[in-house]
Symmetry: C2
Amino acid sequence: MENFVLENPTKIIFGRHTIKSLGAEAAALGRKAILVYGRGSIKKNGIYNDTNDSLRAAGLAVVEHGGVKSNPALGFVREGIELARRHNVDMVIAVGGGSVIDTAKAISAGAVVEHDVWKFFSGKKGVTSPLPLGCVLTIAASGSEMNGGMVITNEEKGLKLGAGNKKLCPRFAILDPGATFSVPPDYTAYGAVDAISHILEFYFTCQGENTGVQDRFMEGLVINLMEACDISLLEPHNYPARANLMWCATMALNGWVSAGLGWVGFPMHMIEHSMSAIYDVPHGAGLSAVIPAWMRWQIGRNPAKLAQFGRRVFAIAATDDVEAAGQGIERLKSWFVKINSPTSFVGLDIPRTAIPALAANSQTQAKIWRLREYDQAVVSEILGLIP
Amino acid sequence: MENFVLENPTKIIFGRHTIKSLGAEAAALGRKAILVYGRGSIKKNGIYNDTNDSLRAAGLAVVEHGGVKSNPALGFVREGIELARRHNVDMVIAVGGGSVIDTAKAISAGAVVEHDVWKFFSGKKGVTSPLPLGCVLTIAASGSEMNGGMVITNEEKGLKLGAGNKKLCPRFAILDPGATFSVPPDYTAYGAVDAISHILEFYFTCQGENTGVQDRFMEGLVINLMEACDISLLEPHNYPARANLMWCATMALNGWVSAGLGWVGFPMHMIEHSMSAIYDVPHGAGLSAVIPAWMRWQIGRNPAKLAQFGRRVFAIAATDDVEAAGQGIERLKSWFVKINSPTSFVGLDIPRTAIPALAANSQTQAKIWRLREYDQAVVSEILGLIP
């Protein structure tokens, strides 16, 4: 167990029909909100009306900024910042998934500073006093609803970079599993893969020793994420399954499982970010291709931990660590196949010839994230293990 | 998964040599502290000096209120409230275990109101604006360092009652596992039992369905608590074991495992509180006698959950639920015996003839905690299962 400081101020309001509490929660933050949302799904499923009704009933003025796309774009963030300034809003409300919440975080941080918002991502500036932020989550995936991280794609530079600060933790997050009933099967699966990937990054890359407590916590989450995803795909309106998927995805990246792990890297995310920066593939789709390749690359480096994963998560009986590790990776990959999340370049519609460009793209991130081991040759080697 | 609201503002500062941050953390809360501590162990192990040095170096004035005993007494709380008022302190600092922190919470709540502090426990008054509270934890057990609960014994009335309010969550909690190296074997064991009991109360009494996420979280904590306690008893200065014990005990009762469980009861605590109210036994010691009896009483009522516990925590292979449940209870009881925590009336030095008085004493709590099923006859029946 390594030293840590843990402080997560986000108030979670979880459960059925909790969206109606949005107005009251938001009214505690200010009087005028910029409402950030995606490309229309919330208008089809009624959540747009519910959130607007609740905000207006609480007497709040609302400026709308809809149209966030997945792999959210810097240009859209900059437009939001302009809008927030012009209307002098005093809070940001996000209604959507990780892309929407990350966009909202970038607007909340960028609206109050003179410099361009990209400087937070290039590491040249730190977040100081962002506008208060609240969110209504509509997809179980990123965990952004209960942490201070954000990932934005700079379209001009072809870079997808992350930044974070605990001041960006939403003041409140409304998690109504019913809001995810209409998430289509592909994005339900990608969301589960994303949440699992967060756990696996912690589980396999942590440099601290004696992580028995965190290990069992993480193994339990992975098992539950897979079970809940399976049921959600068969029965999209199954409340308990959607609820478990949602809560597990939040816990995967809210600081609880990682407390005490010491230094952790996010190499799988780094590689995937290059994929989605250049080819705009969905984040979870890219991850399900990268994860088994990265894990296979790790077999010689960390067989005991990989074997523990296989034995505890998939009840693999093999006593040899390398054998148990290999079987565990295959079981996880088979599960990705089962839920129709891509595990190959063909599945991602990316040509294998893109490997050098992807590896080159990853190097800006490798520098910022201090993943020194991951030079172009290593990233190419890992990408080469994707079928 | 049931609806829940989760908001835990406590800042955790965990790890080696973290006590030196006390002054800086406390200085953010005010200028003058009442320092609450126990009966001298912190003077022997150096923590008293370390905390005092840190507070004074940060320029804080300190009024001392040492002498808290286990099963902390209302009289001592009242004296602390008088002292806090007389010196016009603006914060409370607790250095100790659950008894000390609970005493500090009661002082922080009571110092700012006109009425007697016991009214918080008898349910006649609610906590409104307590003095800010910070703590340095010296024993892994109660979880009080990261929640808003407190339990105090009214010596005159012979009642041990709890009360809670999220405003009583410590603003910060310093968790240095090294501070627990000198905890003697008996209290190390009782602390582990206490933490396990919190989990078992949630695990077995929750009324919500579909608790798969929380179940695995809790099973992992129980396994880790047993492992870490075993090692801590063999090697009291084993840092990783003391660290795991400490962090698991905090997570057992900070709201994380219980989020989504719906209504839960604390019947084992209720019965134990009557024991320690009348006979002043250590809380964990009473619990290790009550837990197996209560679980055995539950076999006919909840065999599936008891069987799941036995299978997942003790790898019991029995396919019949009642059989697996019974074996799980025996394994847990054997572990209590192994760590020298009492499992019988003789071990507690309480005569069996006390059963009617204990059952009668429990009824005040049963009313406050809404454990209607637990009338005197039922409590007597459960107590009768203790050998």
